[in-house]
Amino acid sequence: MQLTLEFGGGLELLCESVKVHNVNVDLPKGVDKLTMRNLLSWVRTNLIKERPEMFMKGESVRPGVLVLVNDCDWELCGQLETTLEEKVVVVFISTLHGG
C-alpha cells in the first residue's frame, strides 16, 4: 500500500532528518486491512534509525507524540485500530521540547 508519512516536532531527527517519506507498506500475513498498529511496528523497524524510545512506548507512540491521519486526530478515528486506505497521509508530531 502506498502511503505518505511525515515527521515533525523533532522526530525527523530519528529518521535521518528526512521529514517526508513516501513508502510502500506490505500487509502482514493473514491480514486484509492495514491498521495503525501494523504501521507503527513497520515504521519502527524500517524508518527509525536511532533512539526508538523517543517514538514509541510499548505498542503505541510515546505519550506526547501527536498522530494525524489525513489531517484528522487519530484519537477520533480509532487510535491503534484506525484502518488505513491507499494514499493516506500520516503525520507524527512530537510535542516534547521547549516552547
Partner: protein
C-alpha cells in the same frame, strides 16, 4: 477575557524563544490585536543564554518571527547581564543543576529586558501542561510559597513587572495542532543540557496521565489553585536583594547567590539544602559583608 489580562494602550513584551508556545503566542496576540483593535503595543523579547547549537538556532527563528509578524525584537544575553554564558556555566558545574542556574537567570533577564523596553507586562507561552508540571514539582519539593503563586495567571503585580500566561488553560497538544494547521514556523529541539532536569520526571508522568484521562491536566491546575495554606504557617516575606535590588525573599536574591558561587569557584553555592556548606559560607560572608545566611530555609508545612 474574564481574567482581565490586558488593557488598551498597554505595552506588552512577549517572551519569545522561537519554540512552539512563544511562536503561537506571538501569532495569536498580534492577530487578535489587529482584528479586534485591542490597542496593545506588542514586542518580542528574547533571551540568549549562550547555548551553542540550541539557542543560536532558535534565535534565528525569532528573528524570522519578527519579520513575519511585524513585531520589534529585543534580545538580552546572559553574557551581557551576568558575564557568563550557559556553555561556560555548564563547563564549571557539570550537567546536574544547570537548569536551576538557567531558570533563575532567565527570569531576571526577562525582567531586565522588559524594563529596558519600558513595558507594562510580560506575556509568556506557558501552557496547561507546563503549569500542571510546576504544580506537581512544587508538591514533590514541598515548596508552599511557590505552590501558592504558580497557578495565578498573572504574577508579580507587586513586583518589578507583572507577568501573565495567556495559555494557562491551553493544552500543549492544542498549541502544536494550531501551529501545524496554520503552518507556523517554529524551532523544535530539546535543550542539550536538559536531560537530567527534575521537571522531566513530572513531564513523563503528566503525559502518561493525559493518555489515560486527558482532563487530569486541567484538574491538577484546579487543585493547585484551590490550595489553602494554614494561617499559622510561616511564609517567606518578599523583600529586596541587598546586592542588586531585585525582588527576593532572602537577603540576597537567588541570582546573586548563584553568580557569587560561579565567580568564586563554588558551584554548589545556592544549590540544595544548607547542610554544612552554610558554615563555610558564613565564614566567608562575615569577612565580606556581614549577612547572616544566604541559604533558603524550610518554610512550614501543609495542614489538612
Amino acid at each position: 477575557m474574564e481574567n482581565q489580562l490586558f488593557k488598551p494602550g498597554e505595552r506588552i513584551a512577549i517572551g519569545a524563544s522561537g519554540g512552539k508556545d512563544s511562536t503561537v503566542l506571538a501569532y495569536v496576540l498580534s492577530e487578535l490585536n489587529r482584528r479586534h483593535n485591542y490597542g496593545l503595543d506588542l514586542f518580542l523579547l528574547s533571551v540568549d543564554e549562550g547555548i551553542t547549537g540550541y539557542r543560536d538556532d532558535s534565535l534565528e527563528t525569532v528573528k524570522r518571527n519578527e519579520l513575519q509578524y511585524g513585531l520589534p525584537l529585543k534580545i538580552v544575553s546572559y553574557k551581557d547581564l551576568y558575564g557568563w554564558t550557559m556553555d561556560e556555566i555548564v563547563k564549571m558545574i557539570g550537567l546536574k543543576n544547570n537548569c536551576t542556574f538557567c531558570g533563575v537567570f532567565r527570569r531576571q533577564a526577562l525582567d531586565r529586558g522588559a524594563a529596558l523596553l519600558k513595558v507594562d507586562k510580560v506575556a509568556t507561552g506557558h501552557n496547561a501542561d507546563d503549569i500542571a508540571e510546576t504544580v506537581l514539582l512544587n508538591i514533590l519539593r514541598g515548596d508552599i510559597a511557590r505552590l501558592s503563586r504558580c497557578t495565578s495567571i498573572t504574577t508579580g503585580e507587586d513586583g518589578p513587572i507583572p507577568r501573565c500566561k495567556p495559555f494557562k488553560y491551553t493544552y500543549e497538544k492544542e498549541i502544536v495542532m494550531y501551529a501545524y494547521f496554520k503552518k507556523l514556523d517554529y524551532f523544535s529541539t530539546e535543550c542539550i543540557y536538559s536531560p537530567n532536569a527534575y521537571r522531566g520526571f513530572a513531564r513523563e508522568f503528566i503525559k502518561d496521565l493525559e493518555r489515560i484521562r486527558p482532563r487530569a491536566i486541567l484538574d491538577i491546575i484546579k487543585s493547585g489553585e484551590n490550595f489553602r495554606i494554614s494561617t499559622s504557617t510561616k511564609m517567606p516575606e518578599q523583600g529586596t536583594c541587598e546586592r542588586c535590588g531585585y525582588i527576593s525573599s532572602q537577603k540576597w536574591c537567588k541570582a546573586c547567590v548563584l553568580l557569587e558561587g560561579l565567580n568564586r569557584g563554588l558551584p554548589k553555592l545556592g544549590i540544595g539544602r544548607s547542610r554544612g556548606l552554610n558554615s563555610d559560607v558564613k565564614k566567608d560572608i562575615k569577612q565580606g559583608g556581614g549577612t547572616e545566611s544566604i541559604e533558603s530555609k524550610q518554610c512550614g508545612s501543609l495542614d489538612f
